[in-house]
C-alpha cells in the first residue's frame, strides 16, 4: 500500500521479532506502533518518550504521523475491496504466499465471514 519499495529492509521482520528487519530503532518503533494501533495510550506515552530520547522530538512526531496515516488508509482499502495493483501483485506473489498474506484477501475474508449463521 503506497509503500515506495525502498527494498532497504527485510519484510518478514515487520512482525516477526526474531528477524532483524534492518531498520534503525525498529524494536522501539514496533512497540510504539502496536500501542498506537491498539489504543493503549498509557503505553504510547512511555514508548513516545523512549522514542524522543532515542530518535528525537520531530522524528517521534513523524513516526506517529505515519502510523496515523496508515491507520486511516487501510480502512479505505478494507471498505472498498480493491484488488492489488497489477505490478505489486506479480512482484509479491511468492512473498504473499510465504507470509500467508493471501488469507487477508478481500474475497477470502468475505468467504470466511459472510456465510455464518447468527
Amino acid at each position: 500500500m503506497l509503500l515506495r519499495g525502498s527494498g532497504e529492509f527485510e519484510l518478514q521482520g515487520v512482525m516477526d521479532t526474531t528477524i532483524d528487519p534492518g531498520v534503525e530503532h525498529s524494536p522501539l518503533l514496533g512497540q510504539l506502533v502496536d500501542a498506537v494501533i491498539s489504543r493503549r495510550w498509557d503505553d504510547v506515552a512511555g514508548f513516545r518518550e523512549e522514542c524522543v530520547k532515542a530518535m528525537g522530538l520531530q522524528e517521534t512526531v513523524d513516526a506517529i504521523a505515519v502510523a496515523s496515516a496508515f491507520n486511516g488508509i487501510t480502512r479505505i482499502a478494507d471498505a472498498t475491496g480493491i484488488p492489488l495493483d497489477s505490478g505489486p501483485a506479480e512482484a509479491t506473489a511468492s512473498m504473499r504466499s510465504e507470509l500467508a498474506i493471501n488469507d487477508f484477501a478481500y474475497g477470502e475474508k468475505s468467504r470466511k465471514y459472510d456465510h455464518v449463521e447468527a
Binding site: M1, L2, L3, R4, S6, L11, G22, V23, E24, L29, G30, V33, D34, V36, I37, S38, R39, V44, A45, R48, M55, G56, L57, Q58, E59, V61, D62, A63, I64, A65, V66, S68, A69, F70, N71, G72, I73, T74, R75, I76, A77, D78, A79, T80, G81, I82, P83, L84, D85, I101, N102, F104, A105, Y106, K109, S110, K112, Y113, V116, A118
Partner: protein
Amino acid sequence: MQANLFENCQYPVRKATIDAFAGVWQRTAESGPFWTGRDHMAIIQEARQSLECELCRRRLEALSPNAVDGVHDSVTDLAPVAIDVVHRIRSDPARMSKSVFDNALANGMTDSEYIELIGIVATSVVIDTLHQGLGLPVPETLPGSDAPPTGQKEPEVVDDGAWVRLAPRDGELNEVGIPRQANIIRAMGLVPLVIQLFFTVMRQAYYISNLPISIQRSQAEFIAARVSALNQCFY
C-alpha cells in the same frame, strides 16, 4: 466555530500539518455531495462511539463478526444501516467483508453515500490517531451544517474488480495532485470531495510528494507495513 487542532501540544507538529488538518476538519463540518455537515459530524461521533460499543466488543470476540446480532450503542440519529457501517469500519476493519457493503446497499444506501461515509471515517481516524498518539484529546466535533447535501457532477468511474466503482486508471492527477494509478488512489472515485479531504491529511501525515520527513524512508515503510499487518489489510 473555528477548528482548533493540536492545541497545547508539547511536540513539534509542523504548521503545514496543523493548517491542513484544521482546514479539513472545518470543511468536514460543511455539507458534502450526499451527507450534510451535521451527518458528517454524527459519522465521526459514531466512529468514536464504536470503540465503546458493546455489540462491537462482542463481535470482536466472536470468530466471525457476522455471527453476532444486536443493536449498536449509538449516540446519534443516523440510520441504523449507516451506524453499522461506521462502527464496523472503525472498530474491526480487519474483518470487513463484502456483505457489509451489500447490506448497506440493500438497506437503501447508495454506493456514493457509502464512499462519502467511509472517507469521513478514514479521515477522522487519521486525525484522531495523531492527536491521541501525541497525548492529546481528540478534537471536538463542530456544529455541522444542516444545509442539504450539495450533490455533485457525475464523476467518471469504472468497474475494475473492487466492490465499488473506481476512478479510471489514466495517470491523471487526482484532487490533491497524486497520479491516479494505484487502486488505493482510485478507491473513492465516486466522491471526489472525500478524495480531497482524505488525501490532504494523508499527504501531510505520510509526507507524500516529497514533503519534509525527519525519519528514514525505511523507517516510514516499516511503520506503514506494521500498521497494515496489524489491521490485516490485504492491499
